[in-house]
Symmetry: C2
Subunit: 491 residues, 2 copies
């Protein structure tokens, strides 16, 4: 297997998105882009990507890889296992870039191109090693949308395709191998078809840009986020299935609905019309705001699909499972045991607030529950521990809501061990705004060691017992917080 260092050639929105996805999955990344603005642009994309990725997965992320800005293509690609090329869509430029890359690149490494406009056979023309080049076409925002179209073409190398699949799955993507090269691969052919039709509708005054967007996002867009075209129609056909649907819908193919056989002239007038309507539709938001709204929505949609899990949500669920395993494996970090442990922080998400803009009651327990999980993971309750048929459950909780908190605020939780015996662990959490700010809420929990097969209490075992003893020694010198051991008073 080639090594897992990555080179990014071209640091725009797409290249920056790739850099962020790779780095947030733990890969070291070297970026080359002659534009002096590239570090700023990549940095902005990375900030969005980090916020979104941290919200997308419940599991902790690995330590991010380093992003460095290289002096030259040779500097960027030396010693890497994957090069992602996202330069402008000019074939002569891409050919020059590949030649320069291949002077230095490890023969085992692969060059993936973000191109939407060129087929792999076109990219490979004149290359000294054509099989090293393939299409790896992502969708914006690259750090959230899982799809990457992989096209190797007739001269493709199956080993390069296999490496692309392995690498991209490892960073939470869904590589779709396209079996036959074709202009625009697959997805962009559909986008092109809809774009042409939409331009006609605007030009002819049938609908504005906003009306067209609404016709998509209030209707079939919601269907396509989870099932595609064919599965949706299969369901529409009812128990009689796809054949029945096609018998009904087939004749519509003869109807002269779409105007796609023709292309509207791309005049200044048409550009003005569309740009003007778009300003009216979306001009109240800056592009930065729209990006944040888009990312919030995509995270929410992906999390909704994760519940089943289904489609893109299954990709997220699988990746999250891997991240959780990694975090279990890496829970060996040492902490100062003479003070409460700071193991969990969070941000108040849009879906956590009620119609008054305050964090909903049960989300306080959501944050405390995650803090309990972090503490247990740190104690050594990892996949291996649970594979032994043991887990640790919360059996009793006492919460005090001290203050309100609004969307977007950072939260931190500290955890103190109050006591334990052979089966039970008693802890206290304090939730503060930011790092050490005002107290927002407190929690006291009783946790119980459980034999999961028989659903009954059982003794804690190593390594949890050893680590508990160490924490008990440190926290034994601390005073118990005043809220511990209290009942709700009668009125």
């Amino acid at each position: 297997m080639p090594n897992t260092k990555i080179a990014i050639i071209g640091g725009g929105v797409i290249g920056g998105g790739w850099a962020a996805r790779f780095a947030l999955a733990g890969h070291d990344v070297a970026v080359f882009d002659p534009d002096p603005e590239a570090p700023r642009k990549v940095g902005e994309v990375y900030a969005n990507a980090e916020a979104a990725t941290r919200r997308l997965y419940v599991a902790p992320l690995p330590s991010p890889g380093k992003i460095r800005f290289a002096e030259s293509i040779a500097d960027a690609v030396a010693g890497v296992g994957w090069v992602q090329e996202s330069v402008s869509e000019r074939l002569d430029l891409k050919h020059r870039v590949y030649a320069e890359i291949q002077e230095t690149l490890d023969p085992e490494a692969v060059i993936g191109s973000s191109t939407s406009g060129f087929k792999p056979s076109e990219l490979q023309q004149g290359s000294k090693d054509p099989g090293q080049i393939l299409v790896a076409h992502p969708f914006n925002p690259v750090y959230l949308l899982p799809l990457a179209e992989i096209v190797a073409g007739p001269d493709g190398d199956p080993r390069a395709v296999a490496w692309a699949q392995k690498l991209l799955r490892g960073v939470g993507m869904h590589p779709l191998v396209v079996r036959q090269e074709i202009d625009a691969h697959i997805a962009d052919r559909f986008l092109e078809a809809v774009w042409r039709e939409a331009l006609w509708l605007v030009k002819d005054g049938v609908a504005t840009t906003e009306e067209i967007d609404d016709a998509i996002r209030f209707g079939f867009g919601l269907r396509w986020a989870q099932m595609g075209l064919f599965e949706t129609y299969r369901v529409a056909g009812g128990e009689a299935g796809m054949r029945h649907f096609m018998a009904q819908f087939g004749p519509a193919l003869k109807w002269p609905w779409t105007k796609l056989m023709d292309v509207p002239e791309f005049t200044d007038e048409l550009v003005d019309l569309i740009a003007g309507q778009s300003d009216e539709q979306s001009g109240m938001h800056s592009i930065r705001e729209l990006e944040r709204i888009r990312d919030d929505n995509l995270v929410g949609i992906l999390q909704a699909l994760k519940a089943k899990p289904w489609g893109a949500g299954e990709t997220v669920a699988n990746h999250e499972k891997k991240l959780r395993e990694l975090s279990f494996a890496g829970a060996e970090v040492e902490h100062d045991l003479s003070a409460p442990l700071a193991l969990h922080s969070a941000t108040v998400l849009p879906e956590w607030v009620d119609y008054n803009g305050h964090m909903t009651e049960f989300r306080y327990l959501h944050v405390f529950g995650d803090a309990t999980d972090a503490f247990l993971t740190w104690l050594g309750m990892n996949a291996e521990y649970m594979a032994g048929g043991r887990s640790i459950y919360t059996v009793e909780t006492h919460l005090r809501h001290v203050a309100e908190v609004k969307e977007g605020r950072p939260l931190s939780v500290t955890t103190q061990l109050l006591g334990h015996d052979e089966k039970r662990i008693r802890i206290a959490h304090v939730m503060r705004e930011g790092d050490g700010g005002d107290v927002l809420a407190t929690a006291e929990h009783m946790l119980l060691s459980v034999n999961t097969a028989e659903s009954r209490a059982c003794p804690l075992v190593a390594p949890v017992t050893e680590r508990l003893a160490a924490v008990a020694e440190g926290h034994g010198t601390l005073e118990a917080p005043d809220f511990a051991g209290r009942a709700i008073r009668a009125v």
Copy 2:
């Protein structure tokens, strides 16, 4: 305003979806369909719709309207304010149906057609009152997707359009008024364009039905569920905006990507190829299963978009707000005060369970919090009460987790008043599986009356004080549950 009774002519998947949406919003519905299977089919759609709608909104639904099956068109449309026609796509049939409807229909009422294939001017041909007929084109599943395209055509009556908008907004839809009639209205023109291109790709062996669906749902389908085509591209253009995007993307219009200028022959061979691929892709799920999966996903996506709120999620948020107001207004039902109150029930949703398949810790408080809200609403803490600058917050909580519960299980909560003073209310909840089954968890809460402007405690006022006194008298004779007033014991 015409009256709010509804007639549904044609009781298939679309007619049944309309019947369910109207009935679940409180409208009485008369369905006419000569098919003897229609009551069964509508009943099945209604069951799916009810489950999905109850999950979609946090607010309680109004009492559903009655659905009756009429003997004739005249019987169905007598005395209604809206007729929704969803018969087969044959113009002569639709004309005969409209003539029969208009013999009986109130002149103030409107006929909406679910047609995707005909323009309103075609539907109106030969009618004695053309302005009474318009297109109200929904998207399957009608009870979840908010979009309805409203097209009145050149002979349309603006009053009919206004009534369509008011009625459909009232049932939680997003009526999109199409300003100029055109074949297939707006959205189906895009679906047709993509369908044609997809058929070519399958026929030519470039991609299977599953690969095409994946190219949509792992990529741009996720974008289109929230922003449409133009707003997505505006963001892609970056700070330079739509004009910059068009300058980049414009030339692609000249590229011969799509095959849409031509239509594939609809041979048996093509039908077999597609039906076979679809079986391979989705045949492991029955259509009923796929419908449930689709509905779960759509509810999840709509709830994710509700958080912002954005797009279709804003439609849901607005409707939920109305439902909440209605439920506040209707909170006058009498209950037996000699026993704990049964005011809240719920179902364990897919997104409430963890990776072990059990309901997550914080969702217990989610259910208890909703039960507290139901109790407070019943006490009279309605919109009017809150408009006076007072609310009631939970300040302290004691939970005991007694048993695990799995996805899909029904839950019920009973509520007992333990005590109150001029500012505080102390209650106990018991959560059981089903109605009176095993105890799953208990909660004790202290609630505090708060002046919301000044964020400080303040006295409770009428009508909450009166109703509290009545409950206190009834519940005063009950023994306090054994978990009340307890602290977590030290270990």
